[in-house]
Amino acid sequence: MARNSPNPGQKILYFLLICISISILYVDIKTNTFSGIKNNFKSVKISSKYLLKSITVDPVTSLIDLLNFKNDLITENKKLKQELDQSRVENYLILNEKNIFKTKDGLDFFLKNNNLDNNFQIAKLKEINPNVFKCCDRHRMFIEIFSDEKEIFSESFVFNNSGIIGQVIDGKKIHEVILLTDISHSTPVKTKSNNFYCNAQGSGKSDYIKCNYNPLVWDEKMFIGKIFYTSGLGGIYPSGVKIGTLDKINEGDVNKIELEIRLIANPISDDLLGVISL
């Protein structure tokens, strides 16, 4: 359907309104009469914008902020925990540095360079089956060593903030660690007096290693709570590091006594570990 063109009456109306528009425009430019209306409109616009924002957007934003804040806190907490674990491992290393580096005069080297990274690597626990660790003979864990250099870590010993937990036996990126409690693992131990030496076998039980010896050969008196140290004779572990305390004495035979040594280090207590190759 065709649209009607403006008739003379409508044309007059157009003309009138155009004239009014021009008049308003002129008055506004020259006298700024309508500034009050504009300012009121702006103030209403701004206040309603804020009101709407406070009703709709702000609750959602504050909720998101709260969630982000929680996430940030969790991340920060994790980071702090990691740093704390690392400092604990380093503290352990510093406390035992005399023993750890005694075997190859590493103490001088350590003091000269004062650079832990030469021999010391931080590792992270990747996998350990706690059920197997509690029940079975094969006590292994898998760690990731954070090192830029392509070193061979096999036969390096692994420790956490409480003590030595085992040695690296295999691996390139993820390294397998045989724990002291693994039944196929032997740890050379000694007493503080250096009158008793023994190869302590893994017991297959968590926290315990067993030491079988002939009392006719080693006549040192044993008692519950006696402290055992690494002897360093195996070449893997440093000498003189506290490894555990005597928990039980099994006198089954005249020629054979079995000592159960309770280890001081728990491999599943920390997920950040230290690795040192002597």
Partner: protein, 157 residues
């Protein structure tokens, strides 16, 4: 009445969008009068004779929203309404390109006029010409859309 409210709502939204685009497009010397083009399109599309009073008050509303001098948009909307109503039957004889040229040129006239009122001492011909080119191309683009997307544009532009 419902139609009028719908129109006013569309105009308010267009004015808001225009204020957002303005900041980005001015960097490439373009002023894109979305509100004016939308209102022109609404007048062009309607089958009925457009009420001049409606154009006048919508123009005043746009003046109020956009913060320009009162009467600027009222005057231009009235003029545009008159032009479209006067040539409403002639447009049917025009090709799409001619209609696009008409809307593009009137929108650049709008840009020129508003610039003369609001920005007289820094009036820029570059802005005027680039805006004219941009607006004509935009109108052509809009006119071409139903060819490529016929399902979305069932009605003839």
């Amino acid at each position: 009445m419902r139609e009028l409210f719908k129109k006013i709502l569309l105009i308010i939204i267009a004015s808001y969008i225009e204020s957002i685009f303005y900041l980005y497009l001015i960097n490439i010397y373009v002023i894109f009068p979305i509100t004016f083009l939308l209102y022109s399109f609404l007048i062009y599309k309607t089958d009925k004779f457009n009420n001049v009073i409606e154009a006048f008050f919508i123009g005043l509303l746009v003046d109020l929203i956009s913060g320009t001098y009162f009467g600027t948009n009222a005057l231009l909307f009235c003029l545009m309404s008159y032009l479209i109503n006067l040539n409403s039957n002639s447009f049917k004889l025009f090709s799409y390109l001619q209609v696009c040229l008409f809307f593009g040129i009137t929108s650049s006239a709008y840009v020129g006029f508003t610039q003369m009122i609001l920005n007289l001492y820094n009036f820029s011909y570059i802005i005027l010409f680039t805006s004219a080119l941009f607006n004509i191309l935009f109108c052509i683009f809009i006119a071409m859309l139903p060819i490529y997307f016929p399902r979305f544009f069932s009605r003839k532009i």
